[in-house]
C-alpha cells in the first residue's frame, strides 16, 4: 500500500514537475516576446541571469547618475548612466515600470567614462585639459539607444521606473546590485536655451595684470541655442570683434538685449533688438547709456534686464555719486582657470531705460547711494522689481591685500540681501526686505522670479556674487518665507539659473563634473519642489564653459543667426 502510494505519488510529482517546466517555458517565451517589443535592448532577459545567481549578499553599487528621484524632461536626448562597482566585471541594466509594461533589459561589458571633444583653439598654457576626477576615472557607463530611451520615457511618465544595475563576475554570478528610481515629467521644457559658450583662458597682460581672456581670443566666445531634444547645440553668434556680456530676453520672447563693449571698448553700449530668425544688430540698435548729471558719469550697465513687455531695460549703474567705474566694482582676476574672476558691484543704483523716450532714469527707492542696489529682475507682470542690496563700500579699501584665489578672505566682503520694490511706471516706491533671503549671514543674490510669480530662486554664497565656488540655489515664496535649498544643487558652483517660460523647469550652470562649466536642468512642481540635476549633454567642447543659460520664449528654431554690424562701435 505504502509502496503503491509512493509510486503514484512519484508519478504525480513527475507530472507536476513537467507541467511546471512547461509553464516556465511558456512564460519565458511570452516574456521574451514582450521584451522584444523594445528595439535595441538585449535578447537576454534578467531572469536568465537570476536563475544562475548564487544566494549571497550583494554588494551595493554606487549609481552616480541619474540620482535617485531624478525627473527627466520628455524628449530629452538619451542620458548616460554612470556607476562605480568594485565587484562586477560586467553588468546588466534592468528598467522596470510601475505601469506593468515589459521591462527593459540591457547588458554592459562596461565602458569607461569618456571626455568630450576638445576645441584646439581653447587649449592654452593657462588652463589644463579636462580630465576625469578620481570618481569619474572609476566610472562605468551605459547609454541607451534612442529607441530604448524613448521606451523608457514613455513608460515612466509620472510613475517612476526602477533602474537596477547588477554586477557579475565569474561566469555571470551576481556580486553587486543597486537601483534608483527615475521618472519622466509630463511637463515639456517647451523652449530653447540661449547661452554663452566661452574658453577658460586667463591671460597675464601688460605688467602682469591678469585678464579673464586675452583680447586676441575674444572671437572665441560663441553664443549658442539648444533644443534639449536635439543632440547638439546650434551656434547663432561667433567671431564677435568685441566683448559682449550678459544677455536678456523679454518674457514674451520678442525682444533681445545684450551688453556690448564695442570695438573701441566703449562699455556704455547696449543692444536692444526684436527677436527674429535672422537677427542683425546694427549701430541703430545700440543704446548709449546717456550721461546726464542725474544718472552719473559712469555708464556701464550690469545685469541688464529687458522688461516683460520689452518697453524698458533695467540695469545697475554706479550713480551720480561715483566718478570712476573702478570705484563701484570689486574685480579681481586669477590665473587659475577654474575660477578666474571675482566680480561684483559695491556701489550702484537701479536705473531703467525707457526705449520710447531714450532716457535712463534712477528708480526711486532703489537709488540710495548709501547702498549698492543690483541684480534687479522684473516680476512677470512688470509691476515690481526684486533686487539685491547691501551697504555701499569701497571696492578696494586702502591697504587691503590682493586676493589670490576665489573666496580668499582678502576679497572685499559683501553680503547682499534681497529686496522688493514696486516699479510703478518708473516712480518706484519703498523697498521691502524679503524675509528668508536676507539677514542670514550669507550673500543672497541673482534672484529670478518664476513665470507665475509665486517663487523666487536665488543664489546663496559666503561672499559677493557670480561664479562663486560655494554658490547654492535656494527657493522661496516670492513674498518671502522659509527658504529651501534646491535638491538639484551639485557639489560645486550652482548659478546663472533661468526659469522655462512654463515655469516647470530651471536651467543652471555648475562645475560639478568639470571645471569647464556645464548646464543642468531641474524640474519644479507646483509646490516648488525640485528634483536632482539632469545634465544637458554635449552643450560645448569638453574644454569650453557654458554660462548665462537663459530660456527663450520662442520656438526651438526661432533664432538661426545673429549678425553684429557695429563697425563704428555704435557711435
Amino acid at each position: 500500500m505504502f509502496s503503491g502510494f509512493r509510486s503514484s505519488s512519484s508519478s504525480f510529482l513527475k507530472g507536476l514537475t513537467a507541467l511546471a517546466s512547461f509553464v516556465v517555458v511558456l512564460l519565458s517565451i511570452t516574456l521574451l516576446n514582450r521584451h522584444s517589443a523594445f528595439p535595441g535592448t538585449s535578447e537576454s532577459p534578467a531572469f536568465v541571469y537570476a536563475a544562475q545567481e548564487q544566494p549571497r549578499v550583494l554588494s551595493p553599487i554606487s549609481i552616480d547618475y541619474p540620482e535617485d528621484g531624478s525627473v527627466f524632461p520628455p524628449g530629452i536626448t538619451p542620458p548616460t548612466f554612470l556607476w562605480r562597482d568594485a565587484a562586477g566585471t560586467s553588468w546588466s541594466i534592468d528598467v522596470t515600470f510601475a505601469d506593468k509594461s515589459a521591462p527593459v533589459h540591457a547588458l554592459s561589458k562596461g565602458e569607461r567614462m569618456r571626455l568630450g571633444e576638445i576645441d584646439p583653439e581653447c587649449v592654452s598654457d593657462s588652463n589644463s585639459p579636462p580630465k576625469l576626477n578620481t570618481q569619474q576615472a572609476a566610472t562605468w557607463t551605459w547609454t541607451p539607444d534612442a529607441a530604448t530611451w524613448a521606451a523608457i520615457q514613455s513608460h515612466s511618465i509620472e510613475q517612476p521606473a526602477t533602474v537596477t544595475i547588477t554586477g557579475y563576475r565569474d561566469g555571470q554570478v551576481a556580486y553587486s546590485r543597486s537601483h534608483v528610481a527615475m521618472a519622466t515629467s509630463r511637463d515639456e521644457v517647451g523652449a530653447p536655451i540661449f547661452y554663452r559658450d566661452v574658453p577658460l583662458m586667463p591671460s597675464a597682460g601688460i605688467g602682469g595684470a591678469v585678464q579673464p581672456l586675452a583680447p586676441s581670443s575674444v572671437h572665441l566666445i560663441h553664443w549658442r541655442i539648444r533644443d534639449i531634444r536635439k543632440p547638439e547645440s546650434h551656434t547663432v553668434l561667433k567671431d564677435m570683434p568685441t566683448c559682449a556680456n550678459c544677455h536678456s530676453f523679454s518674457a514674451d520672447g520678442k525682444t533681445f538685449g545684450m551688453d556690448i563693449d564695442g570695438p573701441a571698448n566703449d562699455k556704455g553700449l547696449y543692444a536692444v533688438v526684436p527677436v527674429q530668425k535672422h537677427m542683425t544688430i546694427e549701430s541703430k540698435d545700440m543704446v548709449h547709456w546717456n550721461t546726464d548729471g542725474l544718472v552719473g558719469k559712469v555708464r556701464v550697465g550690469f545685469m541688464s534686464q529687458v522688461s516683460p513687455d520689452g518697453r524698458y531695460v533695467l540695469s545697475t549703474f554706479a550713480g551720480p555719486a561715483v566718478d570712476r567705474m573702478i570705484d563701484s566694482y570689486y574685480v579681481t582676476n586669477f590665473m587659475d582657470y577654474r575660477f578666474l574672476q571675482v566680480f561684483f558691484p559695491t556701489r550702484g543704483i537701479l536705473e531703467y531705460y525707457n526705449r520710447a523716450t531714450g532716457l535712463r532714469q534712477p528708480l526711486p527707492g532703489a537709488d540710495d547711494p548709501k547702498y549698492v542696489q543690483t541684480d534687479g529682475v522684473w516680476s512677470p507682470d512688470g509691476k515690481y522689481i526684486v533686487f539685491a542690496r547691501a551697504e555701499a563700500r569701497d571696492p578696494r579699501p586702502q591697504g587691503q591685500p590682493h586676493a589670490t584665489h576665489a573666496n580668499d578672505p582678502n576679497e572685499t566682503q559683501i553680503k547682499y540681501e534681497l529686496y522688493r520694490i514696486p516699479f510703478n511706471e518708473g516712480k518706484g516706491g519703498k523697498p521691502e526686505r524679503i524675509i528668508g533671503a536676507s539677514a542670514n549671514g550669507m550673500s543672497n543674490n541673482f534672484p529670478k522670479i518664476s513665470p507665475d510669480g509665486k517663487w523666487i530662486v536665488f543664489v546663496q554664497c559666503k561672499n559677493g556674487q557670480l561664479m562663486r565656488p560655494d554658490s547654492q540655489l535656494y527657493i522661496i515664496p516670492s513674498a518671502g518665507g522659509t527658504p529651501r535649498r534646491l535638491r538639484a544643487n551639485t557639489r560645486l558652483m550652482n548659478s546663472w539659473h533661468s526659469f522655462s517660460p512654463n515655469g516647470h523647469w530651471l536651467v543652471f550652470s555648475s562645475k560639478a563634473r568639470s571645471p569647464y562649466t556645464q548646464m543642468y536642468l531641474t524640474h519644479l512642481d507646483a509646490n516648488g519642489n525640485d528634483t536632482p540635476a539632469i545634465l544637458i549633454d554635449n552643450a560645448t567642447a569638453a574644454n569650453r564653459a557654458v554660462n548665462i543659460p537663459e530660456f527663450v520664449n520662442i520656438s526651438p528654431d526661432g533664432i538661426d543667426e545673429i549678425q553684429v554690424h557695429v563697425a563704428d562701435g555704435g557711435k
Binding site: S59, A86, Q135, A138, G208, P401, T404, H405, D408, R491
Partner: protein, 276 residues
C-alpha cells in the same frame, strides 16, 4: 623645464611669477637676516661657478637682481646649495628689494632641496611671514614639517594650502592622515566630509574617513564611505580590509567575506595592482 618635484608632486620652478601682494620689505625679520648671515659661511664653501654669460653682471659689486638671477640659474641646474648661497647673498645685498618675499621663498626651497631641512623650514617660515602667498610654499613647508615630525605645524600648513585650493588631494591625504595619527577623528570628518570633495576622494581619504567614523562607532557611516571608496578604487586592499573589519564588527560576516573574496580575486587577476 628646470625645477624640482617634492614628494607631494608639486612642481617648483625657481622662476615662478612673483606674488607681490602684501609684501612689506621694511618689516623683514631680523631673525631671518641673521639666519641668512649665519648660513652664508656654510654654503659659501661650495664650489659655485657661475655661467660665463652671467659673469659680467657678477664682477665687482654684483647687485641683488644679478644674484637672484644667479640663484635661479643654479636652481635650474639643480645645484641647490649654490642656489641658496646666491639667494642669501641677494637678500643680504638688498634686504629691501621688491621681490624679497619671493627670493626668501626660493632661498628656503633651495635650502630644503639641498638637504638642509631644518634651515629650509626656518627660511620658508620667514618667507611666509614676509607675506609670500603661494600654495607651493604651504605644500613644501607642510611636507618638510611632517618629515620633521612637527605634526601640529604641518597641519597648519596643509590647512593653509587647502584654503587656496580646497580640492588639493595631496593636502587632504596628508592632513587627514596627520589627524588620524593623532586620534583626532572628529577633525578628520570635518576635513573630509564635505560635499564638494565626495567625488574627488582618493583611497587614502576614503580610508581615513572610514576609520574616523569607525573609531567614533558610527559604523553605518563608515560602511557607506568605505564602500563608496572601494567602488572608486577597487584595487585598494586597505579599503577592502577596513570595510570587512567594520562589517564583521556589525556581524555582517557574509558581506565581509564577499568583500575579501572580491579583493583577493582582483589581486590575483592583477598582481601588480597598487594597494591605493
Amino acid at each position: 623645464m628646470a625645477g624640482n618635484r617634492t614628494k607631494t608632486g608639486i612642481w617648483v620652478a625657481p622662476s615662478d611669477a612673483i606674488t607681490r601682494a602684501g609684501l612689506r620689505p621694511k618689516i623683514i625679520h631680523l631673525a631671518f637676516l641673521l639666519l641668512v648671515l649665519f648660513w652664508m659661511p656654510h654654503i659659501s664653501a661650495q664650489n659655485c661657478v657661475p655661467p660665463e654669460s652671467m659673469k659680467p653682471r657678477l664682477q665687482g659689486h654684483a647687485d641683488a637682481a644679478a644674484l637672484k638671477d644667479l640663484g635661479v640659474w643654479f636652481a635650474e641646474q639643480k645645484n641647490y646649495a649654490c642656489a641658496a648661497n646666491a639667494f642669501a647673498t641677494s637678500l643680504q645685498t638688498d634686504p629691501n628689494q621688491k621681490d624679497v618675499a619671493h627670493i626668501a621663498f626660493m632661498f628656503g626651497v633651495s635650502l630644503y632641496f639641498s638637504g638642509d631641512a631644518k634651515e629650509g623650514i626656518a627660511a620658508l617660515q620667514e618667507a611666509e611671514k614676509l607675506g609670500y602667498k603661494d600654495i607651493k610654499l604651504h605644500l613644501i613647508l607642510a611636507e618638510a614639517l611632517d618629515a620633521a615630525h612637527d605634526t601640529a605645524a604641518a597641519e597648519t600648513q596643509w590647512r593653509a594650502a587647502l584654503e587656496i585650493d580646497p580640492e588639493y588631494s595631496d593636502a587632504l591625504d596628508n592632513l587627514s592622515s596627520d589627524l588620524i595619527a593623532e586620534g583626532n577623528f572628529k577633525g578628520t570628518i570635518e576635513v573630509l566630509e564635505i560635499p564638494r570633495l565626495v567625488s574627488l576622494r582618493t583611497a587614502q581619504q576614503s580610508l581615513n574617513l572610514g576609520l574616523a567614523y569607525a573609531k567614533l562607532n558610527k559604523l553605518d557611516d563608515a560602511i557607506r564611505v568605505l564602500r563608496d571608496g572601494l567602488n572608486t578604487t577597487p584595487d585598494s586592499l586597505p579599503l577592502a580590509n577596513e570595510l570587512a573589519d567594520v562589517l564583521t564588527q556589525m556581524n555582517r560576516k557574509e558581506e565581509a567575506a564577499t568583500v575579501l573574496e572580491v579583493a583577493r580575486a582582483r589581486q590575483a587577476a592583477e598582481p601588480a595592482a597598487t594597494t591605493h
